[in-house]
Amino acid sequence: MVTIETRDASASARAETIISAQKVNVYYGDFQALKEVSIDIRPRQVTALIGPSGCGKSTFLRCLNRMNDLILNCRVVGKLLLNGEDIHRPGFDVVDLRTHVGMVFQKPNPFPKSIYDNVAYGPRIHKMANGRSELDGMVESSLRRAGLWDEVKDKLAGLGTELSGGQQQRLCIARAIAVEPKIILMDEPCSALDPVATGRIEELIFELRRDYTIVLVTHSMQQAARTSQRTAFFHLGELLEVGDTNDIFTKPRHERTEAYITGRYG
């Protein structure tokens, strides 16, 4: 049994929580991928999930919008509360959940549609806009916030799949923002991108954290350090440590954490 060290408990004794995971266990068939993971996610903050490959970061991220439902042999046990509501409670609607909890994937996955249609996809299915001009406005503001507007404003009818990798990923972020989620889950959003594109996405994450709750899986310590306020360290399916990013990187409690972030192990 692992004790989770909550270093920042003193800062705000009962800090605000938007997502609360309580003793979450995940199994793929017989294999247990997550063991008794408990963590509180704070609103309007970036929480970075780090840890060696295969430790269950993606698995945990997918718990938060129940994307694990799509994996056939995957079973999630434990409590996951969104604003205090159990997202596994019968009658709780997944489609609704995913509307509020958006997701950006490791590999950019724009739809083979126009840039405009990619961003307008969410507002359209959720009937968020009344009329074309309102939709146009949503598309523009989402693209602006994703920092892509200037690059694509003249070719909105062009295919989203024909953009560069970094642009595609920002398009996917714009697409997610357009649905106006409260939370955005990002699974290694920069792993397929070059350093310049990565820099842009990081800036974007930094921008977005004022309005959104972001949970970010990353393999880059620098990225976690630059963009996140809180960091959680996973190891072999267990959450070893979670706390202020500064604290984790400067004085980690757990020797494994230290080993990992200093690059001696991973």
Partner: protein, 411 residues
Amino acid sequence: MSTHLQKRYRRQRWFVAVSRVTILLALLFLVGLIVSIVGRGWSGFFRGEVQITVALPETVLENSGKVRASVYKKLIHKALLTDFEQHGITDAGSLENIIGFQGALKLRQLVRKDPDSIGRTITTWLPAGKFADGYLKGDLSTQTLVELQVEPDLIRYFEILDRSNKGRMVFNWSFFTLGDSSQPDTAGIGGALAGSFYMLLLTFVLSFPTAILAAVYLELFAPKNRWFDLVEININNLAAVPSIIFGLLGLAVFINLMGVPRSTPLVGGMVLALMTLPTIVISARAAIKAVPETLLAGAMSLGATRMQGVFHHVLPAAMPGVLTGTIIGMAQALGETAPLILIGMVAFIHHIPAGPMEAATALPVQIYLWADNPLRGFAERSAAAIMVLLAFLMIMNISAVLLRKKLEVKW
């Protein structure tokens, strides 16, 4: 939940319901098809028999080796009339409806086998005539017979046969051994089966090795250039050419130009071989592609030439897939009808072909011929022949699946 979301879910439920109904419809169609065919065809596998006590007077049958069947028919009809008297039947119309020519042939056969029976009176079962056959198999109900304006006395006699257990239904083996005939009760699929057999054998012999060699060349030896693309496009297109076009090819080239005898399994097999070739090539290529390249590299690293590596290692490893594709191709060939019609395999052929050079018909063509024959009883034969065809196809397809399961190696 918002009303909009509810609406979205409703739409989804609708779609799922509609698709399920669609699947149900397709299923229903399959069931309807099978019921319609089995319902019509099952009786083709059976025939009615009537028990009769017939006198075989020496005076008439003296020289039994030469006595014609019509003589036996007269004896049978005399026996029937005797039986009628007992039951007070006066007007039963044509006696052929009870025991016909088939019955006479059978009786002659019995007497020839047992000459001692001449001069005695024997009781035996004989094949039933047209209406009796239908009645005994339950094909023709009393009501249908009334509608067909059959003599009431005949119907009464059928009921008497029934009650006194002198009518029965037996399996009709002759359906499998007889050739085509102008009369439904003497028509069998023996000739068609033989024709299809020779044809498939030929198709296999011609197309299987050719297809494998072509697949090996394309996958493992051919340089990937413009010619390769062209050949590939050519093969893929050939697989989608309507089968009737192959019939035209056979007619113009094989029969007219090369002088291959018309209507024979030989020309049929050649046409079907060309038609099946691309199908087998495509599946053989897929099977060869699935074999990991390391196998060939491994063999070659041990000093084998590329050719040896391919034929000793890659091809055997690909064989299950190749065979599965071949069986499916052969099943297609077995059911193919249109090209065979064009090369003259629709001729009426009574005898059973003894070899691929004799004029013959094929099972699906026989089905077509009988289905088109307006004479009562042929539709039933046609449906029965379909059942046989489907049974063969089922066996082939199941063996293909089993083969794949049993021999398949997961790479």
